[in-house]
């Protein structure tokens, strides 16, 4: 049946059709929907793991046991999973194992735009790269065949435009391969030096065998062009931009496998064209490979390594003309994302700002606490970095700076990699104050369950990790719970814990305002008689409040009635009555 599918949904369909039976992932834009979609197939066991390392190791365990398995993550998640990745390269697999990784060129929702292709080369693991949904489905099935034929995990590289674009796919039936038997095999699976030394040459040999496969693989195809003055090597979404800009004008070598790369095929292609050009996003990965082959090639001298490419840029850089559009001469104000009306993080950040604290931040919706008017966050690095960073900051400063510095981290991020930093705080005894922003969901990526919510990926009730007990168990004696909507209490507790000469954790607990089960009291009423136009309520950056003719006005379609603005109004102009 022909249907429109998101690239991520098509990967999920390919996994399903190939008989994948085990999926373990950590959510991360733009990879999240692969796992959400595959979880809808009853035949596939699918779960959210606490982080990407756990996800990959669990998927490896399933492969070891003999079933086809999968894990998904965003590009920065692969950094977390890099440790098992490099050694799974040595062990190889039992049943097929695919690692899905989605890059985010242009940083639509990421803290950097690292190019994951380097991991394939560094870990010596083959990487496939689809350019649309039909390929995403087909490549997922092919990846399992390669995985089992060459005894290797296979990386499946997505990017925002392939993950989040719908295109036409033809679906097929699920075929469940015979489960493989698990057999004890120390030389294959125990990577201590004696065995690993024997394994390494086999890994190099495997890459040579895969390179030979790449030379004739159908997914590395040459498309003829009418004009041999330029020949283009490309892959992924860039292939689509090239075809959009130039159709069948120039010959194209379209690569479906991005590591290992063919050698003879590229040399032969180069011979047929006057000028060789590589069109690829981010780093000059294919380009450098061509250079290593001694070929004269253009790439990053024409196309930027920063952000995304698009068809107009491809057209222009290769000498074509594009049609210009007409912008308004008017300055159009930006519309940046903001914390939602009723977001429990807002009031907590207001208190942190009021206390003039240094705030080490983390990855999640609450990163938006960094923007005006709250401006409450000092750093954002990676998952968990707030907690461990705070420890170093506090240990290296004086008592006064320790009393003016906190870390903020979400519930899901804390479980992901914040808890290890907290163990360090307890073990090495820094007077750190960590605030866990517990909104009872993984918010930023669109409401995924996590170990603290009491529900699993399939939506069934399950074991709920108790954050208070967890903090106590790792050695934190002072653990307080506050309601972020109650700003007075929040302020008092934060001051108290900052003053304490020992580690402490404050759990700021209130569910995300967008969760369906959260009941709201309804919009706040603003009283223009009482409003003095002091704008105190504007300091929390709530999208539901604006000043009209010098008076605070509530947008009733947005306001949920959290009442935080009312706590700021000294004149009683904002109330639920």
């Amino acid at each position: 049946m022909k249907t429109l599918m998101l690239g991520n949904e098509a990967v999920a369909r390919g996994l399903y059709e190939a008989g994948c039976s085990f999926v373990s992932s950590y959510p991360g834009t733009p990879s999240t929907e692969i796992t959400e979609c595959v979880a809808k197939y009853e035949e596939v066991y699918a779960e959210w793991a606490p982080n990407e390392k756990v996800a990959l190791e669990s998927a490896f365990g399933a492969s070891l046991r003999g079933v086809r398995s999968f894990c998904a993550m965003k590009h920065v998640g692969l950094n977390v999973a890099a440790d098992p990745l490099f050694t799974i390269s040595y062990t190889g697999v039992n049943a097929g194992l695919i690692i899905g990784v989605a890059d985010d060129a242009g940083m639509h929702s990421s803290q950097n735009e690292q190019d994951s292709r380097h991991y394939a080369r560094a870990a010596k693991i083959p990487m496939l790269e689809p350019s649309d949904s039909a390929e995403a489905l087909a490549f997922a099935k092919l990846a399992y065949e390669l995985s089992e034929q060459f005894d290797t995990a296979v990386l499946m590289k997505m990017c925002t435009r392939v993950s989040h674009s719908q295109s036409v796919v033809e679906t097929g039936e699920r075929t469940l391969p015979e489960p493989k038997k698990y057999e004890k095999n120390p030389a294959k699976y125990i990577m201590m030096p004696a065995y690993a030394k024997k394994k390494h040459p086999m890994v190099e040999e495997r890459t040579r065998a895969l390179t030979a496969w790449a030379e004739t693989a159908e997914i590395n195809r040459i498309e003829d062009g009418s004009d041999q003055s330029v020949g283009i090597i490309t892959s992924s979404t860039c292939y689509q931009y090239v075809k959009e800009a130039y159709g069948d004008t120039y010959p194209v070598l379209k690569l479906g496998m991005i590591w290992p790369l063919p050698e003879q095929k590229i040399r032969d292609f180069a011979k047929t064209v006057a000028k060789l050009v590589v069109v690829e996003e981010l780093d000059g990965f294919i380009e450098n490979h061509c250079r290593n082959l001694g070929l004269s090639v253009s790439g990053k001298d024409m196309f930027t390594e920063i952000g995304e490419l698009a068809q107009n840029m491809v057209k222009e850089k290769l000498g074509g003309a594009v049609q210009a559009g007409e912008p308004l001469s008017e300055e159009i104000p930006a519309r940046p994302p903001v914390m939602c009306a009723g977001c429990p993080h807002r009031s907590l950040f207001y208190v942190l700002k009021k206390l003039n604290l240094t705030v080490l931040g983390d990855i999640g919706c609450y990163t938006l606490g960094a923007v005006a008017p709250l401006n409450a966050i000092d750093t954002t690095i990676c998952m968990g970095a707030s907690v461990s960073g705070l420890h170093g900051f506090v240990k290296s400063g004086d008592e006064e700076s320790a009393g003016k510095t906190v870390a903020v981290i979400g519930d899901s991020t804390f479980i992901h990699s914040g808890v290890t930093g907290l163990i360090n705080i307890a073990y090495n005894e820094s007077d750190s104050t960590v605030i866990i922003l517990d909104n009872s969901i993984t918010g930023m990526t669109g409401h995924q369950q996590n170990p603290t919510t009491g529900y699993n990926l399939k939506g069934d009730p399950c074991t709920k990790i108790d954050l208070e007990s967890l903090c106590h168990a790792v050695g934190i004696k002072r653990v307080k719970v506050v309601d972020p909507y109650d700003m007075e209490t929040c302020q008092a507790v934060i001051k108290e814990e900052l003053a304490a000469k020992e580690p402490s954790v404050i759990i700021s607990r209130r569910p995300c305002a967008l969760l369906k089960y959260v009941k709201h009291p309804g919009p706040i009423c603003s009283d223009p008689e009482k409003c003095k136009g002091c704008k105190a309520c504007m300091n929390i950056g709530c999208p539901a409040i604006s000043m009209v003719d010098g008076k605070a006005v509530i947008d009733e379609t947005l306001c949920v009635g959290c009442g935080v603005c009312g706590q700021l109004c000294k004149f009683g102009a904002l109330s639920t009555e």
Partner: protein, 190 residues
């Protein structure tokens, strides 16, 4: 046929994704090659959102570049103004005249530009600006702005009303079907 390009723009949370899903489905059933591109994640938090819908015999790029859109369907006035550069000369702008202040305007750091409909009409563009919010509220919910806009858009397609209704039935929950159909009709006939 030449590939057709439509941008659906608006503010995160306004229901632009449902509109592109509905349109994509309809175009596929009519035998076109279709690509629909969305950006998820950060843009959902009340930020500016863009969806690209492209259809034709064979569609390559999932995105629309500057100067390429045949039509911009905008859920909010400022968002239409933001993307005029993507419109082909002579292209069409269908825009809900509703104004939603972005944070810089709310915070007083910027002003919401005035007379945007007039300014857009002065470009080489066909501008159809109307109050979709009021029509949606009359149909039963301010959330039905997307269906009102789809109704307005439907005037420019050769598809029958039944084909549109069928696509709506496949794209909205049964509970809200009647209200959404009513919203669609009001946009189409207003």
């Amino acid at each position: 046929m030449e590939t057709k390009n439509m941008m659906i723009v608006g503010v995160g949370g306004q229901g632009t994704l449902l509109a592109s899903k509905l349109l994509g489905r309809l175009l596929l059933t009519k035998g076109f090659d279709v690509k629909v591109s969305e950006v998820h994640g950060m843009s959902q938090r009340g930020g500016s959102v863009v969806t690209y819908v492209r259809w034709g015999e064979k569609v390559f790029s999932p995105i629309i570049d500057k100067g390429q859109a045949d039509c911009i369907l905008s859920f909010e006035l400022l968002e239409a103004a933001r993307y005029t550069e993507f419109l082909k000369p002579g292209g069409r702008i269908i825009v809900n005249s509703q104004q939603i202040n972005p944070m810089p305007v709310i915070a007083g750091a910027a002003a919401y530009p005035e007379n945007l409909v007039e300014k857009m009409s002065a470009l080489d563009a066909e501008v159809d600006a109307f109050d979709a919010l009021t029509l949606a509220e009359e149909a039963g919910s301010s959330k039905a702005v997307n269906l009102v806009l789809m109704g307005r858009l439907s005037r420019h397609f050769d598809f029958t009303k039944e084909e549109w209704m069928d696509a709506i039935e496949h794209s909205v929950p049964p509970k809200f079907l009647e209200m959404n159909k009513k919203a669609f009709e009001s946009g189409r006939n207003d």
